[in-house]
Amino acid sequence: MQAEQVEIAQFLAQHPPFDDLPQKALNELAQQVEVAYFRAKTDILSFGQDISDLYVIRSGSVEMYRRNGELYNRLATAGIFGQMGLLMNRKVRFPATALEDTLVYCINVELFNRYCDEFDAFADYFETDGNVRLHQAIVEQADGNDLTTAKVKSLIHRDVVTVDATSTIQDIAKLMTEEAVSSVLVTDVNKPINDDPEEDDGQVVGIITDRDLRSKVVAKGLAFNTQAKDIMSTNLVLLDANDYIFEAVLAMLRDNLHHLPVVQKKRPIGVISLSDILRYESQSSLLLVRGILAQQTIEDLAHYARQLPNVFVRMVNEDANSHMVGTAMAVIGRTFKQRLLVLAEEKFGPPPVPYCFIALGSMARDEQLIVTDQDNALILDDSYDDEKHNEYFQNISDFVCDGLAQCGYTYCDGEIMASFKKWRKTRSEWFDQFADWIAQPKPQALLNSSIFFDLDGVWGKTKWANELKIFIAKQSKANRIFLANMAANARNRTPPLGFFKGFVMEHNGQHKRSMNLKRRGTAPLSDVIRVHALAIGSRKQNSFERLEDIIEAKLLPQGKAQDLRDALEYIAMMRIRHQAWQIEKGEEPDNNLDPHLLSPFEQRNLKEAFAILEKAQSYLKFSYTANSGVK
């Protein structure tokens, strides 16, 4: 005989979402709850602890905090908390503390999931609680992470040290020693001061670093009275004080700079160095990057690469978002390539003609995860002579591709690797190739080459890669026929929505019970985003950055680009967490997720994300047609 808890049932009946439940369901719920009392100022939930209940406040009040200690929410009688933890991974996301003496009803997750399944209104309440939950789940992920939330300005601990452009380098070296800095900014009193305070650049014209004194002065035997203006670097890469630290990391790695001036508006307020960041985030993937650069042989590199899964798992556990994880993995992948090329040039000698090694696909987009194959190619100088030079470039390409394979980056199935002669082209040949793809699009040819439309220079004459990006952006913008072809290809891989309708699975043998989150999720989303980006002539490669450009260009109806961003982030995080989980279990990470393992919440979110993809694909169909142009 089950005893009827009238008092609990009556309370629940007065408050959403329970007020919509049929009486019978309400009574059952009241019979199943567990009750707990918390004295004022005591912890109800601590961050990271396992959570298996939804909490309903019967009396009292509760405060919830973000990980950084900031107040997230304050709830009173009938307030509900814990759903985020149940939703994400059954770990507490927001610690909760009793503000007053508090009595709570705890609803077990099994019961909660069953009620979500049985009663739509009940499920909807949690779906639309506050904002759209998918969006909220993503915003929340970003909040927990230091590297993505901490600003560059938090690393500035001292005033900027400046010297005049006419100072002698000996005086500068003395000043740097006294001030214990490894760089100074150079100012020119003759530089006109702009009347507009917004444009005030502090008359800064350049930067001098320790390295400059070594390589430009001592190595070249310049006189000590050489002036600052003669050795300074004028090509300043500036950071905004509000940039995130990880953007600084990227800028440094991309341009191989160790010191970056930080500006507020345009005025320099400090310089941050690589070591500032290392101190800040000693556990970060940056350490791995430094370690890669120190390895001397392919064997050492391959051995070192075994740490990669741990770095990946740590980032996931630190709540990095997918952009951050993708960027870090891409930076690491890029560093492996750079190191291998240095080793290759040591072994086979300096290149006979200049070249640029380019990365393609997910690595170029900064969306690389732990399981990835290598997609790369070479751009050769136009002075390249096949008879004389082919052997050299074949050698270094084989060296790099084999080395990458040993480091865990499997060979590309589609043979898109520099080790294949057809993907070692001169600059002119590449321009011709892209011009041909864009001007005379053939669906099949484009299908195989869409990967080339995400490209990034890794080593050598990286500016050639940039020239190609600009060329592609200009040629493809508003080119109807080309875009229509790209759009048609972007609709090839459909989201596995059928799966959710009756749990129908793709029948691909081994993974019958699972869906491929990359092939049917993140990859087609990236395809859709690429088409829009090409249509507006965006030069960005990363899907999130492309979406920023797409939003700015107002290409899509209000809110659609944001939906795409949320969908991509959700599926990507699902994929990332799935892989981290497999690594932690000692399994080989893959992209195949068994949705039965997801909570009804996660299933619903995933379905929502896939539905966004489906809508975006059908939007492509109507927006990019060969005879009517965009829109």
């Binding site: 005989m1 005893a3 808890q5 567990e34 009750v35 707990a36 009392y37 019967r58 009595l103």
Partner: protein
């Protein structure tokens, strides 16, 4: 309060004696399985809150009409294992107690005799420390109900939330308060609960009151005792 109802007892020894001396199989089983870990920390003790509704206050002449049980621990109250029985009294229900409990004559007419719930009741109490608000009622009514039917009464350890409240209020009153005999404050269940910001319940059936008592003990323990306080300090 009558010291007979609530005093320090060595329950480990007492349960042993009772298990050996009783003639009744049900009671022997109950005593043998009774929770007797007098040194156990309250955080580890399995409790069950119990409340009776009766036809009056005199355990000699009045009868139990319903029983509510809610098992719990210091951390959680388990509603899904709670029990509620309505039973047949020997005497007519007084009109006034109908008002209080909301139990009608027709409900009682359909109810079983107390006889039929003795076994499941003892089973549900077995291995747990019983918690009541005001020990005299449950202790004496259960004793008399069994005496009448099994020809043998029952003894069991009780934690009395009213007694605990009284101690807490006395501690707060302090020496001067005791000397001048200031008023302690109400010991009614609802008033005790209000001191811990527990909600006022509208219903007063045996099950709701048992739930209310369980919540009260959780609150009292978290305010006045450590989690490793031995149960022997609380039961009588």
């Amino acid at each position: 309060m009558n010291p007979r109802n609530y005093k320090a007892v060595d329950w480990q020894a007492r349960y042993n004696e009772l298990a050996n001396s009783t003639e009744n199989k049900l009671l022997k089983h109950f005593y043998a399985g009774a929770y007797n870990q007098d040194k156990a920390a309250v955080k580890d003790v399995p409790f069950v809150a119990m409340d009776f509704e009766t036809t009056g206050l005199n355990s000699q002449n009045d009868d139990i009409v319903s029983v509510g049980l809610v098992p719990f621990s210091l951390k959680r109250i388990y509603c899904k294992h709670s029990r509620h029985w309505v039973v047949q009294p020997r005497r007519n229900l007084h009109e006034e107690s109908i008002l209080i409990h909301g139990i009608t004559h027709s409900e009682v007419d359909d109810a079983p005799d107390f006889n039929q719930i003795i076994e499941p009741l003892l089973e549900a109490l077995s291995g747990k420390v019983v918690v009541v608000h005001y020990a005299a009622i449950e202790r004496h009514f259960l004793n008399n109900a069994l005496l009448l039917r099994l020809k043998e009464g029952i003894e069991f350890a009780l934690v009395d939330t009213m007694e605990i409240e009284k101690r807490a209020l006395k501690a707060r009153q302090g020496l001067l308060g005791r000397v001048f005999n200031t008023k302690l404050g109400s010991l009614r269940l609802t008033d005790c609960r209000a001191r811990y910001s527990l909600p006022a319940y509208q219903n007063h059936n045996a099950l709701t009151d048992a739930l209310a008592t369980a919540e009260l003990l959780q609150a009292q323990l978290s305010h006045h005792y450590r989690v490793d306080t031995p149960i022997s300090e609380l039961w009588g």
